[in-house]
């Protein structure tokens, strides 16, 4: 609560009624992990009711995507969940490939690289959650350890796709270019370094008495509530249900890899914390398995000139390649009419794309199922009866990303 000069009403206090005070937390508040405004009714320090205002980051991505070619829409879609851009791209390209009916024809190497990058992004995303969540609880050093690891991963993503955050590397039909020379050596270095780093992080946090005090029995979601409120991802698995899209509806060859899905029954912030930590280890286990498949070179794009851009070298030599290149760049391709729902396991839960095509070269409608939005909504259930300080822990433990909540 800010202290206002005399004569000017304090901005933070919205209303005072008897013992109750209505406060606005956010939208510019470091502990809301983005532009979330929580209008809380507090009596003393206890939250009686929390109502959330979202939409501060609404940029109309779904509308923009409807006005771009199928090949271009991926660029704006990656910007929804900005901590897991490759996850968004993955769901989108898989949905469009289903509509095109080419799911079975995607080269295996491309699928492996997609899985590799998605799992690396999962670790990077959890690093941000861990670092910022640590700051919420006063553990500043966690932030530096976690972001150091994230930086290593972003370097790898930059090397493969050309950009740290939004590389637009996953394309309909495959991926844009093979991994560069030297990528695997850096990946090996990361694989070797990772367990040490995770041991350090766990030593720093897992049995830290302050952290345990702040997290255990805070923000408990029962199994029934988790299902009724549509929680997915680590938040659902911390409430006792082992639902993981990678296991239930495998995509892009996830059925080939051996990995466990961490599940806990406690449903509190500490359970969500442990599930995410374990997930980072499991993600690295998948990365290690994918790494073994990546030696050598192989096709990385579907063998279909109507969908895949021809390689740049062939354009100067082949008339056909030049024509196809021109067609794809200037008017993309038409996708057979229909609708499809494609879900993937993003770091935050089930990320689904409901894509409708009317047979044109632009998507007719792309509806995102944003896991963050549904996870965050459960705060209405969690907040009442808790301290404001615990509200901050709850927001952190639900791990919302506002690019995705507001789209």
């Amino acid at each position: 609560m800010s202290v206002a000069p005399p004569g000017v009403p304090a901005l933070d206090v919205v209303e005072v009624k008897g013992n109750m005070m209505t406060l606005s937390l956010g939208p510019q508040h470091p502990s809301t992990h983005g532009v979330l405004q929580v209008v809380v009714q507090v009596s003393g320090e206890v939250v009686e009711k929390a109502d959330m205002e979202i939409g501060y980051l609404h940029t109309g991505i779904e509308k923009s995507a409807e006005n771009l070619f199928w090949t271009q829409a991926g660029t704006v879609i990656e910007r929804m969940d900005y901590l897991s851009p490759l996850g968004n791209a993955m769901a989108y390209v898989l949905a469009v490939e289903q509509l095109l009916g080419v799911t079975d024809r995607i080269p295996e190497r491309a699928q492996s690289i997609r899985v590799l990058l998605c799992e690396l992004t999962r670790i990077a995303s959890h690093c941000v959650w861990l670092g910022t969540g640590g700051i919420d609880l006063g553990a500043i050093s966690t932030f530096f350890y976690a972001f150091d690891m994230r930086e290593d991963i972003l370097d790898l993503i930059e090397q493969s796709g050309g950009a740290r955050m939004h590389p637009n590397y996953l394309r309909i039909g495959g991926i844009n270019g093979d991994l560069p020379d030297g990528f695997l050596a850096r990946l090996d270095a990361l694989i070797e370094k990772f367990p040490v780093r995770m041991r350090e992080l766990r030593a720093l946090l897992q049995n830290n008495p302050i952290l345990r005090d702040r997290m255990i029995d805070v923000g408990i979601v029962s199994t029934q509530d988790a299902v009724a409120w549509g929680l997915t991802g680590p938040s659902l698995r911390a409430s006792g249900i082992g639902y993981d899209v990678r296991k239930a509806f495998p995509y892009s060859g996830y059925e080939k890899y051996a990995f466990d899905v961490p599940v806990r029954d406690d449903g509190d912030a500490y359970a969500r914390f442990l599930v995410r930590l374990d997930e980072m280890d499991e993600a690295m286990r998948i990365v290690g398995q994918v790494r073994k498949e990546l030696e050598g070179r192989g096709p990385i794009m579907i063998d279909d000139p109507k969908i895949a851009q021809p390689a740049k070298e062939t354009i100067a030599l082949s008339m056909e390649a030049l024509i196809h290149h021109f067609k794809i760049v200037s008017e993309a391709f038409r996708v057979p009419p229909g609708d499809v729902y494609q879900a993937i396991e993003s770091p935050r839960g089930e990320l689904g794309y409901y894509v409708v095509s009317n047979g044109d070269n632009r998507p007719y409608r792309i509806r995102t199922r944003p896991p963050s939005m549904y996870n965050l909504q459960a705060l209405k259930l969690l907040a009442p009866g808790n301290l404001i300080a615990d509200l901050v822990v709850m927001i952190g433990s639900l791990d919302p990303v506002f690019g995705e909540v507001d789209r």
Binding site: A228, W229, T232
Partner: protein
């Protein structure tokens, strides 16, 4: 499909009776607005415990104009491991909504997370959910007019659409050799002249 072929409308998403060709991602049901609640209650009783998402689609020329799409997932409501969850049943319920005075019954009482989803569809499509306790805009500002995800809503918004885009000067409109106007151009020309060693007198330089 070669890009030069224009597909026919029959059997496409614009055809309200058509269901998409075989992609086995869910069971698909189509209901009218009147029977929607009864169908969802039935599905909920049959084990579809989670409402994953509610989405909207505007098929402008079609009757009924809108589709509201409910994605359901059958998860156990007691602690269950990965093996027990197995491959849960997915159901997609499509409800057609007519274009004039679009309305649907709210399912906020069946699944509490329908709250924000219904508000978003009201906000972006203008479909009213009858019985929703707090139906107001969620993504757009409260005083916003219009519903942006409707197909007849311009991409740049009505206000910017009303202002004409700047007309660029065609080459033929500019006489040959005419200098570009404006203070910036004048300053540039001065700089060029200085660089060439020509002395340019300006009012400032005449002052002692």
């Amino acid at each position: 499909m070669p890009s030069s072929q224009v597909p026919s409308i029959a059997g496409t998403a614009l055809d309200p009776t058509a269901l998409r060709p075989a992609i086995a991602d869910a069971e698909i049901l189509r209901v009218g607005p009147g029977e929607l609640r009864a169908k969802l209650i039935e599905l909920r009783a049959a084990g579809c415990s989670m409402l994953l998402d509610i989405g909207g689609v505007d098929y402008l020329e079609r009757d009924p104009r809108f589709d509201v799409v409910y994605h359901l997932l059958a998860l156990p409501v007691k602690p269950a491991g990965v093996a027990e969850v197995g491959v849960p049943r997915r159901v997609r319920v499509l409800a057609g909504v007519p274009g004039d005075a679009p309305a649907l019954p709210s399912i906020h009482d069946l699944w509490p997370n329908a709250d924000w989803a219904e508000r978003e569809i009201y906000d972006l499509f203008g479909i009213v959910f009858e019985g929703h306790p707090d139906l107001r805009r969620i993504q757009m500002p409260y005083e916003w007019e219009g519903h942006p995800l409707r197909k007849d809503y311009p991409l740049r918004g009505p206000a910017r659409e009303a202002t004409p885009r700047p007309a660029f000067a065609l080459k033929s409109n500019v006489p040959a050799g005419a200098p570009p106007g404006g203070k910036v151009a004048a300053a540039l020309q001065k700089q060029i002249a200085r660089a060439r060693g020509q002395v340019v007198s300006t009012p400032e330089e005449k002052k002692p």
